[in-house]
Amino acid sequence: MLDVAKIDHWAASGSGPFHRASTLSKVLFLMLVVAGAVVASSPYPLMAGYALILAVAIGARLPWTSMVPLSLYAVVFALLYGLSLRGGALLFGLLIFKAVTPSLAMITLIMTTPYPRIFSLLSTVLPELLASTLFMTYRTLFILLDMMGNFAAAIRLRGGLSPGSLAKNSSNIARGIAMLLVRAVERASRLYAVMAVRGYSGSMAQKGAEGLRPGDWLPLGTGVLVLAAAIAWK
């Protein structure tokens, strides 16, 4: 699983050309790469697309040594699915690059764009309940991850996790999750009360999409090239 806090830090603290591009252009870049993966019938254009996105990431001073392993995470299920298709090496190559190329594009998006900006863009097309819940989930996730980290440290210090004792470990993990859940619900109730006092009326996520800027040529150009290669290599 990804280190959400680290990704959030990279997204908020970078200042390269990808960070400066608008959220809309980066989402369009992702859509173009996904479209490229959907239409591709050969692994080679997607391989070239992966290399291009990686080169752009290196040029834009993104943490590419962390991005590559994260993009490979998508390979596992692609391989499992490939086994179910019983294809040859070319089919496996196609499946793997259909998995890792959009995955690298997604990682480029989330490592250069703070989540609230992505949710802000999504809120223009989603119902209010969904947009607000997305924002609230994102906010609560960091609090809970922190609480879970503290719980894991506490249980380890008190000898609650012992190697080889699956039953004892499961029982302690289950209690930790249950405690986390009860606390999450209590926090949610308190939070609602605080928000209601401050005039919360059902809308939370900042709405609206920023327009395109001159600096958007980099994400848009990269996306167009990946899609064009996938279409041309038919």
Binding site: I7, A99, I110, L129, L134, L181
Partner: protein
């Protein structure tokens, strides 16, 4: 346990488009069902439980296995809000590169089915002690949704254009490959169902002891409605 980590571009276009269409209809029905509720009061709670599901997915209980807590969410939130939580969780997962964007629809249907079935089965199995009630509901739910996952994979192979799958010997390959996938999903999944069932049972028992009002389904009841 049963959401698909399938990346973009692998499933046939008609299948994931159908997934988005059905998901939109199901979400629209869920919104219709919660129309009487004070939904702004539910937002912090939905956010909290969706975040708990995401935290559960960060916990590798065994190598290659993580828990989902979808049945717990279904039991606490009810089917309609459970479906909303499933959508939110899948959007954030895909934004973390954990599964493709194009499979959000199908994944929401799978995870959402777990919340709906979990809630339904927990409600039906009233006679069992609370631990077993939640655990049995979890195993049955995950068994059914794993079959749904196998069904999705089987249906995806029916596209004659899919990934240059040849027409010759097509049926032979299809039957063999889907049964291989089904065998792998069911046998590997069964271990996961038991782990998830044990943890879900313990979590729900703890809640029943510490905060039983959460299991009274007050959370997903409209303030004006009874029953």
């Amino acid at each position: 346990m049963t959401h698909m980590h399938i990346p973009d571009g692998i499933l046939p276009i008609w299948l994931w488009l159908a997934g988005f269409l059905v998901m939109s209809l199901v979400l629209a029905f869920s919104f219709y069902r919660v129309r009487g509720m004070d939904t702004k009061k539910k937002v912090p709670l939905l956010g909290a439980l969706s975040a708990v599901m995401l935290v559960g997915m960060t916990l590798p209980v065994l190598p290659g296995y993580h828990i989902n807590l979808t049945v717990v969410t279904g039991i606490l939130m009810g089917p309609s809000l459970g479906m909303v939580a499933a959508f939110v969780t899948n959007v954030i997962l895909s934004l973390m590169g954990h599964g493709g964007i194009t499979v959000i629809g199908l994944n929401t249907l799978l995870v959402g089915s777990e919340t709906v079935l979990g809630h339904l089965l927990f409600t039906l199995l009233k006679r069992l002690p609370v631990f077993w009630r939640a655990a049995v509901a979890t195993v049955l739910t995950l068994f059914i949704t794993t079959l749904m996952l196998v069904g999705i994979v089987a249906v995806s192979h029916l596209d004659p254009e899919v990934l240059h799958q040849g027409e010759e010997h097509g049926n032979e390959i299809l039957n063999g490959s889907v049964s291989t996938f089904a065998w792998m999903a069911l046998s590997l999944g069964a271990v996961g169902w038991l782990i998830e069932a044990a943890i879900t049972g313990a979590v729900v028992r703890f809640i029943a002891q510490v905060k039983p009002d959460l299991l009274g389904h007050d959370l997903h009841r409209s303030p004006g409605r009874k029953g």
